[in-house]
Amino acid sequence: MSLQMRDRVATLSGVLTVDEVEPLVAWLRATRGASVNLRECTHLHTGAFQALLCFRPKVSAAPRDPFLAAHVFPWLTSTRPPPMMKTGGDS
Amino acid sequence: MTTRVLVVDDAATVRLYHRQLLSAAGFEVAEAVNGLDAVEAALQTAFDLFVVDVNMPKMDGYACVSALRGETVATTAPILMISTEDRQSDADLAYAVGANLYLVKPVDGARLVRMATMLTANDGDGDGDLHP
């Protein structure tokens, strides 16, 4: 089971697939003071990562997964938008 | 209560730069030009923070920090080491001798002040206890 939603805490475990993005977003929309537990999460679908960045729930437990811990978790811990906005597409 | 910082660097410009930054942030700044100088100063004054350059003549930063943490001075004050090297081995050595933070030059001034402020955020009485 990869998505467990309670009153204020959603627990994400294992691989969170595209199918779980929608219930997660619905829950985030409806939940004030939400927090998410990522301890056992091994992968987040981009849609879920995006939703966490947009709704900014508190992260109650950091992921153990090395990739998520190093590259995803740090962006979920601030209460304000992360530093960079899209600059004009120059390439 | 003032927070005392000892800036240890053989480069006069860097010492001045750090002095300007830290004074502006409300620290009381003293300077030392090498490790020996720093250890002598630390025996005279209880500093709340050390900002130590690595590459110095007479006694380099590693030996200096080692001495500050050794029985002679035995300070528990935070030590921030600054080096131009960002090799893993250099950082490892810094942590091994007892630095609390290892930053690579050029250190962004604002960041140095932030770190200095954070590292001295507790009440500086050295016992590590918190008084609510």
Partner: protein
Amino acid sequence: MNPLLAQFLAEADELLTVLDQGVLRLERDPDNADLVNEVFRAAHTIKGSSGLFDFPELTRLVHAAEDLLDAVRSGQIALEPALTDHLFAAFDLVRTWLGQVSAAERLPATAGAEGAVLIARLRAPLGGSGAAPAASARTTSAPTDVAPQWLWSLGEDWLHATASWLSLTEATMRFAHYEPDERCFFQGEDPLHLVSQVPGLDRLVPVEPAAWPPADEYDEYASVLGFVLATRAGVSELSYLFRYVSEQVEIVELDADGLRRLLDGSDEGTRTAQGDAAVVRDDARPLREPADQERVDDANTVLRAALRTLAASDTTGDRTGPGDEGSGQGESEVPINPRVGSVVRSVISAARSMGCEVDLSADASPADVEAAIRLLLATDVDPVESVDTDPTAPPAPDRRTDGGDRRASARGRRADDEPAADGGAESGRLGARTLRVDQEKVDLLMDLVGELHVAKNAMAFLADAAEEEFGSRVLSRRLKDQYGVQHRLVEEMQAAVMDIRMLPLSVAFARFDRLVRDLGRRLDKSVGLVTEGADTMADKDVIEALGDPLMHLVRNCVDHGLETAAERLAAGKSVQGTVRLSAVSEGDAVVIEVADDGAGIDPAAMRLAAYHKGVISEEELESLSDAEAVNLVFRPGFSTAAEVSDVSGRGVGMDAVRASVERLGGTVTVRSQPGAGTVARLRMPLSMAVTQVMVVSSGGQRFGVPIDAVVETVRIPASDVDRVLHQDVVVLRDEVIPLVDLAAALRMDNPPAGIALGREDAADRRVLVIRAGSHHVGLLVEQFHREVEVLLKPMDGMLADHPLFSGTALLGDGLVLLVLNPKELFSHVAADA
């Protein structure tokens, strides 16, 4: 003039003198280590101090001189006359520049070009940096690339640190900017998964949209995140990895200078553009990070550094220090290890800035301190591999090896969700995409498939008729062949439709979190719910029908199964009880368990209670095994609760649960370990729509028996039927099987002559052996017919809830078939006996 600049000019002047003299002396005395050190340090100091100002060309030139001297110092190269010439030329140029700086406070416009020549000469002996070639559309690979503006996403500090690292190692690094298509989720793409596979990933930064929409307008199906990453992987590796989205990815390879040009271009300054390279200066500036993001980053940096200090210090004993420095060492009399003490202070400080308080004293054990740090970091970084000088540059994780296919095909939303905003007309390219379909349409499709099954079955009847009524064997054969083809197609079609109707059990489990919590509160018990296998799929109807039985079982767990906190404590258990809901697929069935870690069911007490209530006979009291005794909870009218609580509902027992589960074609059993808990196990068909039944006739009527329950069909001579204790039995393969006359059991009038048992001893008896729970029972019938697939519909009208039947079905020849419920039949008969 700014005093800092004045200070720098004075200091640099002194140092240049040291350099000139030192290099001269080195020519005569090349092996003088002190001298080499002194010269190196002088260059190093100029370089370090110059970094405080906006003199990138000067810094680069002195850096090149410093690196050369460093190579001399380490014995890599010998200081040849040609090299000292270059060094002198460099020092002279620096002096010239400093003169300009003291006059105009900036370097001359020609500095870049002048410096570049000397830099090349100074760096030549150190070997250039090789760059991997690249071949891909929109992929550039010359390290002299102009750094694109999107690099700013990586953070200024990080770029600075990386630039100095790259210049130190003479290396290049690959950077990629990936902007996935907004509709990529519909293609089954998962950009984050893709970037997680980048080997040697050094830094990954998500690029968010300039502004997030309000919550109610947020579209979870639009991919709006971009990614900027830095990696040590080669361009070709990256191109290969991103080969399917190459038009959405830009890859560049840069060396230190490339990064520095970007960084220099950002500096506040009064300089005009230099003519040194094709640097396109842009007004784009890195936006400052918001303060609290910075604070968290800083705190994390300090915490990770603290981990490293702890790890590096020899904190096992009271010795302090690595021992490779000749300075004072700690001794055992020192009550507080200064290193640990300082770490404690820095951790408390960092925690404060994050808004947390930690309870650590200066003499805390390193293990406690480490635990506190890890708690604050809430992450399991290995201190040895952890971060370094820069918080924003975490260690590159190992390449992921769990090759789980995360490209889940986007399944249809549930139809009872709100319809798609765009009318569901979502089109994508090839690949999985989502269509939202009204539930009614799926149900209609299911009904049609069911009807098709039935219509197809009519062909079998037709085939029989062709032979029997029209005497055409050939036509009969052809019809049978055709029937076979249609049968296969309808099977496949049914599977496909079934698949659409499949939902994960999480749908059924979802409401129990709340239920368990509320019940626990009402009963003053502390209860936690654990769910497992909620992604197991089953048909929508099954899931919906499971709601009530599961609800009842869960209530029972909390109400009767789990003890009060006091009882649990007395039993040496955790105060919090646990209810576990789990699901696993087993072939055509799904097995759901509802377990608690409560007091369990005492079989002896069950037997006695059942006996006192008259549920079981004295004989059963003796003969029932423990496992059977526990399952007495399902007997009608049985309740183990000492008093009826309002939770489990007055008078509603587990018999209701069993009845509804069996009506769905499922089974439910209970096993229990006294003191350790109880598990109710439901085995449900994955789907209830189409059932295979064996058609038999009895009393002149046809009945269906679910094929699941059929063990075998046998004909036995009447003489083989024995009577034991008023019960007809037959021995089959050493098993005594009680016989039940179906017509009698169903109280059917006028059984055709010669059918009743013992009348016509000469005739063979047709026995349908069925499984009822753990028993085998022989049904005496008149005729066996074929097996057919029927669309089983629940009984309604007068016969609704009739225990002996699980439903009705329409046969191909238009007759309504009553489908029996074997288990009920058995207990019904057993009760009669």
